[in-house]
Symmetry: C2
Subunit: 102 residues, 2 copies
DNA sequence: GACGAGTTTAGCGAATTAGCTAAATACTCA
DNA sequence: TGAGTATTTAGCTAATTCGCTAAACTCGTC
């Protein structure tokens, strides 16, 4: 994965990991995400920019607001890619299935 | 996973991710690991301590040297645990197999 | 017990990061 | 166009991180 470094860097922060969890059900506006945390809007905005740079989320404007959406493929491919590189035997079965599914 | 924060923090550094890859085949002494990188022995030692604190490696003394061994279960469970939390539908099949295997 | 090899600990400096507030930008609606 | 809402950008500070060198520790051997 060419972007794996950015992905792992992005996942190092607990707030960012939780943001991705918040987005798992549906896309949310930056403000809606921020409301779930005790930190300022600019800080949330910065976290979202880092997640976007890692292709872990995408954004689209909807009128006034900017909606963020999880990009599960980046997460799955990055983490699975590294798992496969480090623990090839343990994840062999898993990869076979992923390949079939895609 | 109680330790997931430490695991993700540990994986944020490219040197540490590569150390785990070096360890995938067999356990290695700190010096053998260091020889594969262009950084000083103390820096490698520090990286190994961080990996050990995250339970991603274990160590045992062998005479003069300290051998480090990959702990694949921690890596697999941490990454898969987070994947399952964020992308439950996409990793459903995968988890079923892991459960059967364990 | 002293030496040598292997490794870690201490302590420092430069760079990065995560938080904040204030100000700027983007868009909608009257 | 002017006001209001949503979000980002700029600029700052405090804390963390990663690298280094020097010194200490551990173990086996003489």
């Amino acid at each position: 994965m060419r972007n794996a470094a950015r992905v792992f860097r992005a996942l190092a922060d607990p707030t960012r990991r939780q943001i991705l969890e918040e987005l798992k059900r549906k896309e949310l506006a930056a403000g809606e995400i921020g409301a779930r945390f005790a930190i300022s809007a600019p800080s949330i905005s910065r976290h979202l920019a880092i997640l976007k740079a890692a292709d872990l989320v995408s954004e689209r404007r909807a009128a006034n607001r900017i909606l963020y959406r999880l990009e599960p493929d980046t997460l799955i491919e990055s983490l699975n890619g590294y798992l496969s590189a480090v623990c090839p035997t343990q994840v062999r079965q898993r990869r076979a299935i992923t390949a079939r599914r895609v």
